[in-house]
């Protein structure tokens, strides 16, 4: 049962010289109730644009975003509907996502206003409860953001989102700005919350390694398109798309074995002028004649496994990646 469905999403913005740039060029993915899906990609892949469009912060040029069975409304001047408010977002920068002039308690209480529509004494107890839920002491409510560390602020951001009793939270790089030793804490918190509250999460990250410990399914994004989706374990054990392969091989492991990670040739192309056909083909070690000419579609190869790559199109090339390298 999907709580969030994105179909063929396109997000376009105006580039520096006015030309339209498709930051998201036809992406589809789904998040089930209570599931954590990781969206992984590097700079310029459009994951942040996808995240913002998914919650309605930015308009989609085309495509559908369905939350809890209904289309997500783009945020205008009016207040968001109660229904839409159960789709929340946590941002990357813990220093920018909290208002420096308001107390923590005030900000966490914002979400309670939609549900209970009262600003009496009742919210204070719930605010303290929410703060405790994310691992902070209740007295944090009286403080201001500049008195908290990055990790604490990120927890507050999560508490804020939880106040609206969300069914799904989109998290845009929630861990990147945190120290390594704190990342693990917040990552574990996310897993715990999802499990305990039956809450879905779309976790966006460039760090494939940490997503592995948090997400049940992973979608890989490259230059505006989703190139592969799979259950986390399967993605790691048997990556199908050459880009996924490259991402995994590029991760340096802290195992003391002195292995240099594999580099990917070439550069990320300019999103305003993407390559023809398969967008990854100029950098792909397995590219063949079909790749520059035809755009591959995200197709289901096996249950829960989707890839957009001509290597897996039985008409073009019968053998999968593992069996025969070029």
């Amino acid at each position: 049962m999907s709580i969030l469905e994105i179909h063929d999403l396109e997000v376009v913005y105006r580039g520096r010289d006015g030309t339209p740039v498709r930051a998201v060029a036809g992406a589809s993915l789904a998040v089930d109730v209570g599931e954590i899906v990781g969206l992984v990609g590097e700079t310029g892949c459009g994951k942040s644009s996808l995240a913002r469009a998914a919650v309605g912060l930015e308009p989609a040029a085309s495509g559908d975003i369905i939350f809890d069975g209904q289309r997500v409304q783009v945020l205008g001047r009016r207040a968001r509907t109660k229904r839409d408010a159960r789709l929340q977002m946590v941002f990357q920068n813990p220093y920018g996502s909290l208002n420096p002039r308001r107390t923590i308690g005030d900000q966490v209480a914002d979400g309670l206003r939609i549900l209970t529509e009262d600003s009496g004494g009742q919210p204070r107890a719930r605010v303290k409860e929410l703060l405790r839920r994310v691992g902070l002491s209740a007295d944090v409510a009286e403080r201001h953001p500049h008195q908290l560390s990055g990790g604490q602020r990120q927890r507050v951001a999560i508490a804020r989102a939880l106040a609206a009793d969300p069914r799904l939270i989109v998290l845009d790089e929630p861990l990147s700005a945190l120290d390594a030793s704190v990342q693990a804490q917040v990552a574990n918190l996310l897993v715990e919350l999802s499990r305990d509250l039956g809450m879905g999460m779309l976790l966006i990250s460039h760090d494939l390694a940490i997503v592995r410990h948090v997400a049940q399914r992973v979608a890989v994004m490259y230059l505006g398109q989703i190139v592969e989706t799979a259950a986390t374990r399967e993605l790691w054990n048997a990556p199908m798309h050459p880009y996924t392969r490259a991402l995994i091989d590029a991760i340096p492991h802290p195992d003391g074995l002195g292995r240099l990670p594999e580099a990917l040739t070439g550069e990320i192309p300019d999103p305003a002028r993407p390559p023809t056909g398969c967008r990854f083909h100029p950098r792909c070690p397995y590219a063949f004649e079909r790749c520059p000419t035809d755009v591959p579609l995200l197709t289901e190869i096996a249950a829960g496994r989707n890839v957009s790559c001509w290597l897996y199109d039985s008409a073009a090339r019968p053998t999968p990646l593992g069996a025969a390298a070029v």
Partner: protein, 286 residues
Amino acid sequence: MRLRLPFMRSIPTAWLQPLTIVGLTLAGVWLVLAVLAPWVAPYDPLAQDAPLYLPPSAAHPFGTDDIGRDVLSRVIWGARVSIPLAFLLVSLAFLIGGTLGALAAYLGGWVDELVMRAADLVFAIPTILLAMAVVAALGPGLVHAVMAVIVVSWPGHARVVRSLVRTTMQSDYVAVARLLGASAVRALIVDVLPNVAGPVIVLAALDLGTAILLLSGLSFLGLGAKPPAAEWGSMVSTGAQHFESWWIGVFPGLAIVSVVLAFNFLGDSLRDIFDPQSVTERARGA
């Protein structure tokens, strides 16, 4: 340079900087003088009984002017003119300019264009010239001078408020508030305005000094206060015509300087106070 006296412990550190204390003291003194002028001034500022051109003495500490009026009394009464007018002026400029700026930022589109182009028009012309032109069109007099200064001051406020509102509207925390169900108006009031208030108050404080300078300047040119009113700018103008009797122009001039300095120091101190992040960063030694 930090002073440490026992009674200071309960006052926040930012208030205890030397410049703040000087600014506060000076401004305080002038405010008191302005309020208590009728009781503090030794003579009637309009009385012309004293001998003409008397240099500073025990009876007339600031001397007398070209028609026998006590300069000290006139300087004190001058505060009653300049300072309240400056406050009024800045408040109006801020209200008009700030509202226009906020509307421009919030509504965008043609409203934004209109307001910004009007502001650009004002900025394109040198301030004092434009003020003079406005007064010339309306006719000389203090009221018209005040209106002229408002006309040249509102764009500064409009620009600052617009810029602040725009930046905060695009911040992540406003996005979060919107996602949590706040309407755009609510987000504006609860999240944006508090962040805008600080820098705006600083600008207003600094603008007080500029307002006084402009008013005095217009009066100096004969476009503002009309004789025999005791106004610093026109007193300086008289002083310039009687250079040998230096006390006639110098004391009102010093009054202008000290008030403008006081408000400038205050403005700077307010900037330090309204920026909690920089204060705590200094404390942490980062």
